[in-house]
Structures are given as C-alpha cells and as structure tokens.
C-alpha cells in the first residue's frame, strides 16, 4: 500500500509542476504549487509505512512492552507535520505578493511583469 501512495505523490508532483510552468495567471500558479506541496508530503509519509503495523501511539492497542514490534516509523510524521505548517505559511506569503502585484499593475498575467528580466 505504500507503493500506491508513493506513486500518487510522485504523480501529484509532476502535475503540480506542469501547472506551475504552463499557466500564465499568478493565482493558478500558486494553486499548482499547493498541489505539488501535497504530493511531496504524501511521498514522505509513505516512506515511513511498515506493512501490518499501526500508528505510533502507546495506548490500549499498543502496550509499552511491544511498542518496537507494533508501530510504524514516527520520524517522517514529525518531519511532515513541520512541512505542512511551513507550506501554508509560504502560500500565504505568495498570496500577499500576488495582491500587491495586482495593486501595482492591475493585471495578474505573469508576462506583464518584465521589470527584472534582462
């Protein structure tokens, strides 16, 4: 089952990158980046999955003595938690910049912003 999730994650990354490279509207590019972000998180969590085991929480289902034999890898989950929160922070920053760009030139087409191009 980890294979299915990993394949989905990689396909989402490719779809998101395609959308970010071919769309011209800035908001659509940000939506595509969000999709690619979700794909990366899916791949990382899928790496930590071990077959037939359960979540890393010690309660009635997983007593302390058999924890090593019953839980999956908890480290990728901790990393992905951080990644999701920072991802939404970066999305908020991109949206704030999109708003200011619209305010300065009244258009959201990326080919209208050529000031930094040589």
């Amino acid at each position: 089952m980890a294979y299915i999730a990993m394949t989905t994650g990689f396909v989402l990354i490719l779809i998101g990158l395609y959308g970010a490279l071919t769309n011209r509207n800035i908001l659509r590019m940000i939506v595509a980046f969000t999709v690619a972000n979700t794909g990366v998180n899916l791949v990382m969590v899928a790496v930590g999955y071990l077959h037939g085991r359960t979540a890393p929480i010690l309660d009635a289902a997983v007593p302390v003595a058999e924890a090593v034999a019953r839980i999956i890898d908890p480290v990728p989950q901790a990393l992905v938690l951080t990644a999701i929160v920072i991802g939404v922070g970066v999305t908020a920053l991109m949206l704030a910049y999109a708003y200011k760009l619209y305010e300065s030139k009244r258009t959201l087409d990326i080919s209208a912003f050529k000031d930094l191009k040589w």
Partner: protein, 84 residues
C-alpha cells in the same frame, strides 16, 4: 485485494482526477481552488490509511481548510484579474 488496498486505489484515482481539474487553464478559478482543496482533503484520508493520525489532522485543518480560505480571501480582492 483487501479492503484497505481497494480504498487506497479509489482514493488515489480520485486525487489524480481532482489534481488534473485543478491545473486546467480553462477552468474558472474558483473551481480550481476548490479542486485543490479536495486534493488536500483526500490526501488527509490517505494519511489516515497510512497509519499517521497526527499528520491527517494537521493536513485537514491547515492544508485543506486554511489554504482554501486564504485563496478565496485574495480572490475576492482581485476581481478582474482572474480572467487573464
């Protein structure tokens, strides 16, 4: 094929379909944003099937909820730029 694998496959097919809907350039922007929110929500269910409840909760609350709200806030402010 066990139930888990069947559910995983169904979720994956729906996620890829929603992602393709989200990046189509000819779709209206509101539908693209909602499709991205749907991708995030289905990914949260996939996280639960991968035995990661913490990550599922975080993705549902932050990735699906807050990101869609942020998009719609900004979309409401830039009326007119969305048809470029």
């Amino acid at each position: 094929m066990t139930l888990l694998i069947a559910m995983s496959l169904l979720l994956s097919v729906t996620i890829v379909a929603a992602a393709l809907l989200a990046i189509r350039g000819s779709q209206s922007l509101a539908i693209s944003i909602l499709a991205a929110g749907l991708v995030s929500l289905l990914a949260s269910v996939q996280f639960l099937l991968l035995a990661a409840p913490d990550v599922a909760m975080t993705e549902a609350a932050i990735g699906s909820g807050l990101t869609t709200f942020l998009f719609f806030f900004v979309l409401g402010r830039v009326r007119g730029g969305e048809h470029d």
